[in-house]
Symmetry: D2
Subunit: 348 residues, 4 copies
C-alpha cells in the first residue's frame, strides 16, 4: 500500500509500505476512506517530536471501513464504517476508567507517533472496541473526519475545561483550525459574546461567519485595551489559549476577569510566565489537557442532528495520492487561506 | 480605646484611638473579645501592602460582642456574641450573588487594610448581616477565632479548590499556620496520604500530630525524589501551595501527577515559571483564590460537632494589651515554636 | 391607584386601592410599566391557594420604573427602569446565601401572594437591592417581563435541574407557557432532539416553530410507544414535567431512560405514584424546585445578545386597565390560542 | 467442586457442580478464598427474583486467587489475589464508558443471578480485566470481601448520590448491613450529625459504635417528631433510604429538609407514594441507583490506609462447607445479632 512516511526532519515521502496486519486480538485493520493533516503533523515533520522515528507513517485522523478484526473485537466487523479517534484507549487501565483516555497506559496518542498512522491506505488500530466509533448510516463521512481530533480538542480542552456557560463573554486567542473548532463548539453553551483574536484577517473574517461576535487583529489593535473596553474593564469569563506561545498565554492572563478560566489548548515548547503576583487573589482557574476524545459520542449526535456543521472547517480537498500537494496547501495556510484539507482514498 | 496602629514600614504602636461609630445603617460596632495575628499583618507592617496607610488599625480576625447596630441590621442586636469574618460582603453585588465574597464590590478584604481592623478594643464592621456570624451558645470562642480567616482559607483555597477526595494522596507545601489549616480541613474528605513539606522540623512534627502521614524536610531530603518514590512515580493527586514563593510553586508542578490539582493559597510577590512545555498534555488544574469565607457556616457546624479542633493551632496566649509581646512571639515563630497567638480583651 | 384585587374564590375586581408606601428602609416603590398573568394567578382566583386572602392585589411579574426607594436601598434610585423578580430575597438568610432565594426566610414567593402584587399601577418591592434587576438601556422591556418568572422557571426547574447537555434527547410534557419556556431555554445547551408532548395541536405547532424536533399529541398517539420508537427503546435523557398532574408525572417515569433525569416544574395538588419497583436500579434523578431566579442576570445577558427571544411567548397585548379582558383571554387559552398576555400601563 | 445451588423457591443445596471453565477469551476462573451472603441472596432463595432459575449457583461477593485466564485478559495472571466485583463490566459499551457499570450491556449484575456466582469453590468471571481488582500485598482479604458489594453500594447509592458534605445532618433509615455501610462511608465526608433509624436496638447500638450520633428506634419513638426536634424543625440535609419499603421511603420524605436529598438504596417491590403536593416547591433531589462499583479503587485505598475498617461489619465466620449454617445465621439476623457472615474456603 501507499503511505506518507517520515524520514527525519524535513523529509517525507508518499511511498510503498507493507499493508498492516492484526498483531493483537483487540486490533482492527481499517481501510482509510478519508484523512486529513493536523498542525502536529507539521511539527513532527520539522523534527520537533523526537519520539517519531525514521520510517513512521504519520497521521492520526480519519474515517474508513473495517477490513479485518482480531478475535477479541466484539463491537465491529468487516465492512463497518468507522470514525478513528486520534486517541487509542484500552478501556481498562486506571486512566481509561477515569475517562482520561489521553493518558491510557496502553494507548493514548500513539497513532502516527509511536505506531504507524492514518495517512495511508490502511491502518492498524489497537484496542479497536474503545478507539473506533461506528458511523451512523447516511452520515456525511467527510464532516466526521473533523471528529477524530480537532472538534473534541476544541471542545474538551477549550470549551469544557473553560466551563463556558450561557451568557458568558469568552475570548479565543488563535483563529487557526483548533481555535475555530473551539469557536464552533463553544456555541453548544450559548455564550453571549465570543471575541476572536488572531493576526490573520482572513481567519478573523471566517471566525465572524462561524459565530464570533468580535474579531481583533492583535497586530492592528491592542487586544487588552480593546477587550477591557468591550467588557467595561471586567475582562472575559473564559480566555481560551489556542496557539501555544508564551505571548498568547500571557495575553490570556491579561484579559481574564475575576473568577475566570484559562483553558490551555496550545502545544507549548517552553515554560511561560504565570503572573501569580496579580492573579493569586482573583479566583482564576487554569487548565491543561490532552484531548481525551470522551466527547466523540456526543459530537456524533450533534453532527447527526445538524446542531453543528464541522464541514465548515474544510477548505481544500485532494485525492489521497495527492497528499504531497495537500501538505503544500496546509503548510502555506496563510497564502492559500487553508483551514483543514481532506484527502480521499478513491481506490476500491 | 486602645488599638494596634501602623505608622509606616517597621513602625507600629499600641495607642489610644477614638472608639469607632456607626457610619452606615448596615454597620455594627463589635467589642473585641479575642483576636489574633495573621502572616499578612507582618507583611503590612514591613510596608509590603502599600494600600495600608499611616494611622490604620490593623487586624482582620476575631470574636466579640455586639455593642451597637445600625438601623439596617436585622440579624444581630446588642449583646450577641459574633465571629468576625476577615471578608466583608454586601450580599447584593454581582460577586456576592455568586458567593465570591472576596471580590465584593462594596467590601472584600478591607478590615485592617482599607478600613480600621480588629486589633483594637472595638471595631466597626460594615454590612454586618453578611459579614458576622452568630456564635452558638456554649461554643469555645477561642477556637472560633481560627474561623475568621485561617481555616476557611486553608479549606477554600487549598482543599476545596484542590478537589481533595477520599483515597487521594495529597501534598501540602508549607507547614505554617495556613498549611496546617489546609491539613486539618483536608481531612474532611479523607485523603489516604497527606505529605507535609517544610524546612522547619518542629512544624513537621506538629503536622504529624495533626494527621500528616508523611513529613519531608526539603532541606534534608529531595522532596521530588521522595514523593515520586512514595507514589511509585505517579506524583500526587493534589499539591497545595501554602507558601507564596516561586520555588514552592515550582515544586508543586514537579510533584503533581496526571490529572492533578495545584490549588494556590500563597500570597505571591512576583510571577513564577509555569512549565507548560511539560504540563500542557497532563490534564492539570491550577487555581488561585482569595478566601471567600463562604464555608464559615459549615466550619461552625464541624467545630460545634467536634469534627475538627481548631484550637490545636493556638500555641501562645496574651492579654490584648500585651499585643506587642504577641507580635514578638509571632515574628519569631521558628525560635518560639509559634503557630497562632491569641490576645484576649479582659476589660469589662 | 387601580389594582386587580382578589375577593375570594371566583371573585376579582379592577378597583381603586391606596398607592403603596415605603415600610422598610430596604423597600422600593415601583410604578408598573408592563405586567402579565401567570397560571398561578388563575389558581389563586379559583381559591386553590388559601394563603391568599380577600383584598389582596395579585400578580408577581412585571417591569417598571422606580418611584421611590427606602434609605437602605443602594443599588437603585428614582427613575431607574427595573425588572421585578417573582421571588423576593433578603440576601442574608441561610437560604439566600446558598442561592436558594425561593426559600428566603424573609421573602421567597410573597408578591401577589402574602403581600400585594404587580397587577396594579404601583407595587412595593421589599429587599429591593436583591429582588429587582436593572434594565439595560435600550432593552426591549416587553420581552423582559418574561424574565420575572416564566423563563427562569423553565430554565432552573426544568433545564438546569434536568442537566440538559449537548446531544441529549429530551422530552417536555406540557406545551403551555412554562413548557415552552423550558423549550426555549433548553436550547442554551444544544440537545439533539426535543420532543414536545401536549393535547393541544396549536401549542404543539408553536412548539415546532420554537425548536421542538418532535411533537406528540398524547390524545392521538401513545406517547410512550412513540418515544420508545424514536429512541430505539432507550427512552429520553431528560423528561421535564411541566403540567403538575399525576398522569403527566407518571408519563415522565415511563419515558425516562437509564441514568436519566425527571425535573419537575409542575405545581402538584396531590401525591403521585413513584414506580420505585421499576426505577430503583435505573440510576434516575428526580428533582423538585421553586424557581430561585438566580439565573436572571444570565438570562438578561442572553436576551441582550439576541441568543433567546422571549417575546415569542407573547400572543396578546392589552392596556393595563383592560386587565379583565386580558384575564378572559388568558383563561380561554385554548380557544384564543393564548400563550402569554402583556398589559401596559399607559398613564404618565 | 461444591457450590450453593438454588432449586426453586425455598430450596437450596450445597452440592457437587462441574468446575467452571473459560468460555470467552476475556474470562478468568477464580478459586474462591472468602465469600459472604447478601440480603439479595435471601430474596432470590424466596423466589422473588424470577430471572434466577433452578440450578443456578448464587452469590456475587468474594475474594480469591486467579486459577486461569483467557487469552484476552491482560491485567491478571494465575496466582494473583483478586477482589471480585458484584458488577461485571465490559468496559466498552455506552454505559461502561459513562462509568455506569451497573447498566453494562454485556454484564451488570449477572453473578449469582444470570450466570453462576461466588458461593462455590470456583467461579468464572467474564470481562475479568474490568470486573476484578488486584488485592495489594499484605491486605486483609477478609475486610475486602465487604468491597464486592456492600461498601460501594452504601457509598455510591447512598452517600455520593446524597451528596453528603462536611457539616451536614444526615439520617439513615435502616441499620442493616447496607445502612451501616452507608454510615461508615458517609464519614468520608464528615457530616456533623448522623441519625440512625431502625427497629432493632442491637443494630442501633452497633450504629452508635460505628459513628452514629443519634439512634432512633422507630417503634419506640416517633422518628419524624424526634428528627424535627433535633433539627429545630428544619429536617435533615440527606435522608438515605436503606430498607426498600413504602413506609421507609415515605419517612424519608417527611424528614428531609429544604434543598435536601433522598438517595434510595433499598430494593423496592412496589411503587411508593411521592408527596409532590408537599415537595414540589422544596428543591428536593431523589435518586435511584444500582451500585456501579466505580468507587472500588478508591475504597481499596481508604482500606489500605486505615481510613475505614470494613471488618467491623463481620459478625460471624464459617468454613465454606458450613455455608448452610452461615445461611441460618444470616436469616436469623435479629436473634443472632448477625451483620455480615464470612465463609472461608480452606481447601488447598
Amino acid at each position: 500500500m501507499k503511505a506518507l512516511v517520515y524520514h527525519g526532519p524535513g523529509k517525507k515521502a508518499w511511498e510503498e509500505k507493507p499493508k498492516p496486519e492484526i498483531k493483537d486480538p483487540t486490533d482492527a485493520i481499517v481501510k482509510i476512506f478519508k484523512t486529513t493533516i493536523c498542525g502536529t503533523d507539521l511539527h513532527i515533520l520539522k523534527g520537533d517530536v523526537p519520539a517519531v522515528t525514521d520510517g513512521r507513517i504519520i497521521g492520526h485522523e480519519g474515517v474508513g471501513i473495517i477490513e479485518e478484526v482480531g478475535k477479541g473485537v466484539t463491537s465491529f466487523k468487516k465492512g463497518d464504517h468507522v470514525l478513528i479517534s486520534c486517541i487509542t484507549s484500552c478501556g481498562k487501565c486506571e486512566y481509561c476508567k477515569k475517562q482520561m483516555y489521553s493518558q491510557c497506559e496502553n494507548g493514548g496518542w500513539i497513532l502516527g507517533h509511536l505506531i504507524d498512522g492514518t495517512q495511508a491506505e490502511y491502518v492498524r488500530i489497537p484496542h479497536a472496541d474503545n478507539s473506533l466509533y461506528p458511523i451512523p448510516k447516511g452520515a456525511d463521512e467527510e464532516a466526521l473526519v473533523m471528529l477524530s481530533d480537532i472538534l473534541p480538542t476544541g471542545l474538551e480542552c477549550g470549551v469544557l475545561n473553560g466551563k463556558v456557560k450561557p451568557g458568558d463573554t469568552i475570548a479565543i486567542v488563535g483563529a487557526g483550525p483548533i481555535g475555530l473548532a473551539a469557536l464552533l463548539t463553544a456555541q453548544f453553551f450559548t455564550p453571549s459574546e465570543i471575541i476572536m483574536i488572531d493576526l490573520d484577517d482572513n481567519r478573523l473574517k471566517v471566525a465572524r461567519t462561524f459565530g464570533a461576535t468580535q474579531a481583533i487583529n492583535s497586530e492592528k489593535e491592542n487586544p487588552v485595551e480593546k477587550i477591557m473596553s468591550l467588557t467595561k474593564g471586567k475582562g472575559v469569563d473564559v480566555a481560551i489559549e489556542a496557539v501555544g506561545l508564551p505571548a498568547t498565554f500571557e495575553l490570556c492572563q491579561k484579559i481574564v476577569g475575576i473568577g475566570g478560566h484559562i483553558p490551555n489548548i496550545g502545544v507549548h515548547g517552553k515554560s511561560v510566565d504565570l503572573f501569580l503576583d496579580k492573579l493569586w487573589s482573583r479566583n482564576i482557574t487554569i487548565t491543561t489537557r490532552l484531548v481525551d476524545t470522551v466527547t466523540t459520542p456526543m459530537l456524533l449526535k450533534t453532527v447527526q442532528s445538524g446542531k453543528i456543521d464541522p464541514k465548515k472547517l474544510i477548505t481544500h480537498r485532494f485525492k489521497l495520492d495527492q497528499i504531497m500537494d495537500a501538505y503544500d496547501t496546509f503548510e502555506n495556510a496563510g497564502k492559500k487561506k487553508t483551514l483543514k484539507v481532506i484527502m480521499t482514498n478513491e481506490n476500491e
